[in-house]
Symmetry: C2
Subunit: 193 residues, 2 copies
């Protein structure tokens, strides 16, 4: 029985769009950002004579990091891509605990960390800073906290990324704004040491 | 027929040592550096009722990047781990063309890029700067160039990483030296913009 939806497939379309954009950025020497391969636990491999090894039994395993990282303008970039069909809010259950922890660690090291969130019904994409995500995540962990980020909040605090042709999702323009805002607020010092 | 050696397995032991060291660095908030999952082309997946998806046919595919990246002291780190049983030289065939190209792209973006090379017979590990690797790689591409880096050269231009307990391979000490040398030679400017 083939499931129609799995957790990993939910973000597929947005990921394809981001992958195409990353290829554009790579080929134009703008940035080097790649999607990490899906982590797999391999149980059984056949080695047929005169042909390549075939994996015969393996399972999807949980990633310990986000999906994307790389370098842009000398800076470490780390993010995850998330889609929702929800019209009024982004449900926080789209994030795993370990992804949020990974983003916290990277922020602590001075990385540029965020989520790219697509509201599928309206086809709008926003960059949400990791520090903003942490605020909602932490308040959701208190029993009273809401378990989602209202769409109107994302509209207000996020950086909208508008589709264009080359690249399809020009999210590094939003990263430029994020870096500028960080520098202006003097909260950010890439040298760190 | 099970092959006794495959290309991917050659670096196994060193990778395990590096992974252990990365766990130490992660837990002590020193750096966030992970090994990327092995890239796999999945052909067939079964979805049994009431249990997890099982990959029934998949193939190892070629990585388009190096094995390791992450962030340390606010800087983007990118490297690969290589082992050789050769006593007198490091054969350049241990690198794939696309790995060298990936390192070149990351260097152009201002990343800290290198190889960790283990000479198994003498159990010595060296950090070799990407820029030094490029010199040997480029001269090897000329018909007259040698196809390996003499051990004595690695000893002289590399940064030796001596095994200790915590972490097992303290390669970030060598990265500190590399960063200092870069700063001293004024060839390196992490801000970049
Ligand atoms: Mg994702
Ligand atoms: Mg390797």
């Amino acid at each position: 029985v083939q499931r129609t939806t799995t957790y990993g497939k939910r973000g597929m379309a947005l990921e394809d769009e981001i992958n195409a954009s990353n290829t554009y950025y790579l080929e134009h020497q703008v940035a080097v950002i790649h999607k990490k391969p899906t982590p797999i636990n391999i149980v059984k491999v056949d080695y047929p004579k005169r042909s390549s090894a075939v994996i015969r039994e393996a399972y999807f395993s949980e990633a310990s990091t986000t999906d994307y990282n790389g370098i842009y303008r000398g800076r470490y970039i780390d993010f995850d891509a998330k889609e929702t069909r929800n019209k009024t809010a982004f449900p926080l259950k789209n994030f795993h605990q370990h992804q949020v922890e990974h983003l916290r660690r990277c922020v602590a090291q001075g990385g540029i960390c965020f989520a790219l969130i697509k509201f599928k019904v309206v086809d709008r994409v926003f960059l949400l800073k990791a520090s903003d995500l942490f605020n909602y995540w932490d308040s959701a962990e208190q029993s009273s906290g809401r378990k989602s980020i209202p769409f109107t909040d994302v509209e207000q605090i996020g950086y909208e990324v508008r589709y264009k042709m080359q690249p399809l999702i020009p999210y590094l323009d939003a990263v430029d704004n994020l870096i500028d805002d960080n520098l202006n607020s003097e909260k950010f010092d890439v040298k760190g040491d």
